[in-house]
Amino acid sequence: MTEQRIGIEVSRAIAIATKLANVDVVSAYPITPQTHIVEDIAELVANGELDAAYIPVESEHSAMSACLGAAAVGARTFTATAGQGLELMHEVLYIASSMRLPVVMAVANRALSAPLSIWGDHSDVMATRDTGWIQIFAANGQETFDNVLCAFRIAEDQRVLLPVMVHLDGFHLTHMIEPIYIPEPSQVDKFLPQNQYPLPLDPNKPITMGAFAPPDIYTEVKKAQQVNLTAAKEAILQCWKEFGDCFGRYYSPVESYRGEKAKVLLLVMGSFSETAMSAIDILRGEGKEVGLIKLRLWRPFPFDEIRRAVRGAEVLIILDRALSFGGPGGPVCSEIRSALYNEDKRPKVIGFVGGLGGRDISPGGFKEIINRGIEISQTGSEREFEMFGVRE
């Protein structure tokens, strides 16, 4: 039995991934550009192709709450959302992670209102940065599919037991038809063991979940959570290694494209990194020593991998698809800048914010960003960051 490569919309491939993972409970509310994912899952359940409970709810707040209950009894649980939907879930996201409930969620990254925008950027994700979830960014359809499968294994790993978000750019990925390798069910069964939640809700063995914590214990709870999420990286690396051994596709927290010995590096997350690769090829063709860094693992933040990846560079240009208003620019740029601050030898970090609300950036655009970044590194800039492509 081998994998079949088929042309399929990425959202639909995610639905197939949940079927292959044999999810027990799906609770979701449709929202663009995520709708095709849950629509397809609903169909799989209705057709009897997937033996799962599909709970339609009246809001994303309820969707995530239903997922918590399902995960708490030890069910393999999945949901998907985007943009405003992710915001409506917000308070429940913290509860999933602090209660150590291994929910898996695909997030079709979308801009936030107002003005209303259904198109893609990372504003929704960045608002959930500190919710304590593991967060993985996919760059293409195959990565999305593979990482949904990996997400179940990571979330349910006894060392981890944390919820996982798999991020895919709204429209740029959700609505793309791509050739994707779909494995056989038996291959997935071999890779993905049964969910064995260690302390499920069980009337025969009563426990209390989500009790209140007075000041003399809350700090200890948060410390445990911090240690747990940071340590999850080991399980994530092991999962990606074993996924590669099973399916031949290996993933890492940080990936370099022609980044070795590059004096100038561009760092991008999500689907834009695929386009940026073309820009790097063009610039390399012109004899420029440029490379690309793709950041795949956003939480837990891969400090060591990032430091290693940029060590030799003189200039590091970072593109954010989200804006921290009145702050230092993009969240990714400010985190990486602070991660490098205490290094003896570090590149100059130049921040750009662009690709907001579905605005595309072409290879030519990335070329411009890189050239402008090099210019700023030499001349300096009055601003903390620049917005790319904005009409002045």
Partner: protein
């Protein structure tokens, strides 16, 4: 629970700080929140038990003589009993006094 909450380190916690011992909320001294204490006057008390019915903490019970008394380990000093008592047999006094 072998250790009290104030003694537990972060390493002692169950996953997701799950409480595995049912009913251990009874070990929590909610009386520590109190700023006012109810004083029951047995001369006025008619043993009707209305204070015990209204007590949101459920911590008022009759003693051997049938007079109602709060358990100060749990009593938060909310004063509802004093407000509801028909005969005004309950007075709230400052804890500092």
């Amino acid at each position: 629970m072998t250790k009290s909450e104030g003694e537990l380190t972060w390493k002692d916690l169950e996953i997701g700080s799950i409480v595995t011992e049912p009913g251990n909320a009874s070990q929590y001294q909610t009386g520590g929140w109190r700023t006012q204490r109810p004083i029951h006057d047995t001369n006025k008390c008619i043993k009707c038990g209305l204070c015990a019915i209204f007590c949101p903490e459920g911590c008022i019970e009759p003693n051997a003589e049938g007079y109602f008394e709060p358990n100060l380990f749990y009593c938060k000093g909310c004063g509802i009993c004093a407000r509801e008592c028909w005969t005004q047999a309950i007075t709230m006094v400052e804890e500092e006094e």
